[in-house]
């Protein structure tokens, strides 16, 4: 063991730089502890208390930066010092380039070479800002919601005429030239292009592509209403065109929430002349899972199947898969025997709208009694979304739940009271939950629900019931959050953790009597 102290006289680094260097120094293999801070009396006292004081600190002043290293092996001292010094040198060279602007005008003025603008403002102002960006010949990703359908149509028509993208409104995710925007996951670069009219649906397929060892060339978001009759799929058609021309893209996956039939036909018609392999997963479409009349087009029945089909057309050498083991039928049957006869309903409480849709349509295959706040059929829409009946799936990202509060992927606490409410219902067999990782999402979505899951299980147990909770963590091992520790947290609470949203649907369905 060796203690080494480096003093940088009268040296100031901004806090972010200091913290980054400190984190990296502590991660160096040969370093037991690295203490990096300003040379104040109180910091020196801490250094003294932990037994790392050396005489070099005798003359330090408050304006000096101190680096105190506890090195595991003395012979590594020189190497470690060089590595730490390199951290400082690199930081000095790179600096930070993130700048905040108060207006789009000043941002555009200072960044004339940029070609894409991400807009997240109050919906009332979104139309004006997007227009401004389009007038400046910039592609737009519009995260804001509460934009009228008329405004969306006008903006998309304008963008189309100018050969620009208008991704949105309510566009939650995109990966453009390797850069993740808004709620994007960290996934491998590859040759599969995605156009998605669904935020979490696009996240799900990009994550599953990664987990299967393949990669994504571009992920183009369109906004959830793009395939409505009013909009006519303008952005999906433009995105498709772009991917057909993109040299990096070998195969294309199209994913959408339930589309308007006429728009679906328009897209299929366009694909007749497409030169690349295309897999389509339109939730709730009659074509889902059917044989295609077009040679290079495949219709998938679920998100996982869409991925399994599209990766067959990739030309890249697959990396090691990151798939986790799922529960066997025997295991599920065994758990099922613990349920009482009265426990017959599934309750899905989702942050991700498309994940919610996927369970909704999946349950509808087995039961007419499926209700939701996002059900297409009016008579199956919940009149009071705060109260469940029969099988119920709730999208907590829907406008009614997000008015005046952040999206549940940012703040997942909105599900807490509902989980307890469902746990108290003696007719509930299964609660299904999703946990999204990636940029923009909460840093510890599983941790936020730890206490309530424990409490929900206790409520059922005290009433002599077994409550099944199924959880899916949507994320990759390279996302900012640690997917494995998120899964582990849930597993430790007795949650049945599955490896895809499709499997979440399958597990949930397996608990329906007679399914």
């Amino acid at each position: 063991m060796a203690i080494k102290t480096v003093i940088k006289k009268n040296t100031y680094f901004d806090s972010v730089t200091l913290m980054t260097i400190s984190t990296r120094a502590n991660e160096l293999e040969s370093v037991k502890t690295a203490m990096i801070g300003m040379g104040t009396d109180m910091n020196i006292e801490v250094i003294r208390d932990v037994g790392l004081y050396t005489s070099e600190l005798d003359d330090i002043t408050t304006g000096d930066l101190m680096i105190v290293l506890d090195i595991k092996e003395e012979e590594d001292t020189e190497t470690v010092l060089a590595e730490v010094e390199e951290l400082f040198t690199k930081k000095n060279q790179s600096g930070t380039t993130e700048i905040s602007y108060k207006t789009l005008d000043s941002a555009l003025n200072d960044n004339q070479e940029s070609n894409i603008v991400v807009i997240s403002v109050n919906g009332n102002f979104a139309y004006r800002e997007v227009n401004k960006a389009l007038d400046n010949d910039k592609h737009v990703m519009l995260f804001s919601d509460n934009v009228t359908i008329e405004e969306e149509l006008a903006l998309k028509q304008k963008a189309h005429e100018k050969e620009l993208f208008m991704m949105g409104p309510d566009c939650g995710t995109a990966i453009i030239n390797g850069v993740g925007l808004c709620f994007a996951n960290e996934v491998r670069a590859g040759d599969i292009g995605i156009v998605g009219a669904s935020g979490t649906g696009s996240q799900e397929v990009s994550v599953q592509i990664h987990k299967h060892g393949y990669g994504v060339s571009q992920l183009i978001g369109t906004g959830g209403r793009d395939l409505s009759l009013e909009i006519g799929g303008i952005m999906m058609l433009d995105g498709l065109d772009a991917l057909l021309k993109d040299e990096q893209t070998e195969a294309i996956l199209l994913i959408s929430k339930p589309p308007a039939k006429e728009v679906e036909e328009k897209i299929i018609e366009k694909l007749k002349n497409a030169t690349k392999q295309i897999v389509i997963y339109f939730i709730g479409s009659e074509r889902a899972g059917s044989n295609s009349e077009i040679a290079n087009v495949t219709f998938a029945n679920n998100s996982l199947q869409a991925v399994e089909q599209v990766i067959q057309y990739s030309r890249m050498m697959p990396a090691e898969t990151m798939l986790n083991k799922n529960l066997t039928i025997e295991e599920l049957n065994h758990i099922s025997t613990k349920l009482k006869d009265s426990q017959k309903y599934i309750r899905g409480l989702f942050c991700g709208g498309t994940l919610c849709d996927e369970l909704l349509y999946s349950l509808m295959e087995f039961s007419d009694e499926v209700y939701s706040n996002i059900h297409k059929s009016k008579d199956r829409q919940l009149t009071n979304p705060n109260s469940s009946k029969a099988h119920t799936v709730i999208d907590f990202g829907d406008d009614k739940f997000t008015e005046g509060r952040p999206h549940p992927m940012i703040d997942p606490t909105s599900r807490i009271p509902r989980i307890l409410q469902e746990a108290r219902d003696p007719e509930v067999a299964v609660i299904a939950l999703d946990f999204e990782l990636g940029y923009g999402s909460h840093e510890d979505p599983a941790g936020v629900l730890e206490d309530v899951i424990r409490e929900a299980k206790d409520i059922a147990e005290n009433e002599g019931r077994e409550l099944v909770i199924v959880g899916y963590v949507l994320g990759t091992e390279i996302d900012p959050q640690d997917v494995n520790s998120q899964r582990e947290k849930l597993e430790n609470l007795g949650v049945l953790v599955v490896d895809s949203n499709h499997q979440l649907c399958e597990v949930a369905k397996s608990f329906i009597k007679g399914a």
Binding site: M19, M35, M38, T62, T96, T97, S100
Partner: protein
């Protein structure tokens, strides 16, 4: 190069007129000027950084800035040796208004509970920063003593505890200093800042670095960055959505500075939570 001013603190003209100031610290987006190692004026390009004695420039960064001194002229002009003058037009100036007064406890209680629930959810964010872990532990110990002293109205003892956390922790503005800034903001919001604590300015000059000292010096005078002021404005309004936005804005300050200031704010507001007067 034509330098545009985005906004500035009007107090520059009342307090720094006809003074020459020298460059003390230089970062990509911020340059501190002052005399005798005491920061008196900050030039920055960060549009969210409105704070005492700060001029915010409408620029990308300040890497091109080569001057080592500036002069504040009474005709609202900042003169440099090698750069164009900056003109501080009156309409672009603003004041660091005092922290809004929180008379009622209702939204204070709500805010504190909101933050505490968020902090619980984010408890693992210290990562592997040994100095951070040690210093936070020590701040907690000292602030337990502070609370006891505060309840006994023993301001000497309370001041002593603050002295013990000055300059303590990671970052350019160490954790203890940011905590104190947040605490003082809460004391001002509750109109309960003890004059006795003003002594901390002299002590801070010795015990912490010049950047951090400048923050504490102004906090003692009741002058805070706009990001801190905004937190109290949203508490007064009681709008949860606004609170969450402002909390996130403050948390984004520096690496841990914003979070540490928030910690101090919550600690300070908790000192007044004894008798919530709901609806009164």
């Amino acid at each position: 190069m034509n330098i545009k001013v985005f906004t500035y603190d009007e107090a520059i003209f009342s307090d720094l007129m006809e003074q020459q100031l020298f460059c003390l610290q230089r970062f990509n987006h911020t340059i501190n000027f002052g005399v005798n190692n005491e920061i008196l004026l900050t030039l920055t390009t960060n549009k969210n950084a409105f704070a005492p004695y700060t001029i915010i420039l409408d620029q990308n960064n300040l890497s091109y800035f080569s001057d080592t001194s500036l002069f504040v002229h009474k005709d609202r002009r900042i003169a440099f040796e090698n750069q164009d003058n900056i003109y501080l037009e009156k309409e672009r100036g603003q004041h660091c208004y005092p922290i809004v007064h929180l008379e009622k406890n209702e939204s204070v209680v709500f805010f504190v509970e909101l933050i505490e629930s968020k902090i619980t959810a984010e408890k693992n964010d210290t990562g592997c920063q040994p100095l951070e872990i040690y210093s936070k532990q020590r701040i907690k110990e000292k602030m337990n003593c502070f609370k006891q002293a505060w309840e006994k109205e023993d301001m000497d003892m309370a001041l002593e505890q603050l002295t013990q956390i000055l300059g303590l922790g990671v970052g350019l503005t160490p954790t203890g200093d940011d905590f104190i800034t947040g605490l003082f903001a809460s004391l001002y919001a509750k109109s309960a800042f003890p004059a006795h604590f003003s002594q901390l300015a002299c002590i801070a000059k010795e015990k912490t670095n010049p950047v951090s000292y400048a923050e504490i010096r102004e906090a003692i005078k009741g002058r805070f960055a706009q990001l801190i002021q905004n937190i109290f404005i949203t508490i007064l309004r009681g709008n949860v959505h606004e609170m969450l936005i402002e909390i996130e804005q403050l948390k984004a300050l520096g690496s841990t500075s914003g979070k540490d200031i928030l910690w101090g704010i919550v600690f300070g507001l908790n000192l007044f939570r004894k008798e919530p007067d709901y609806g009164n």
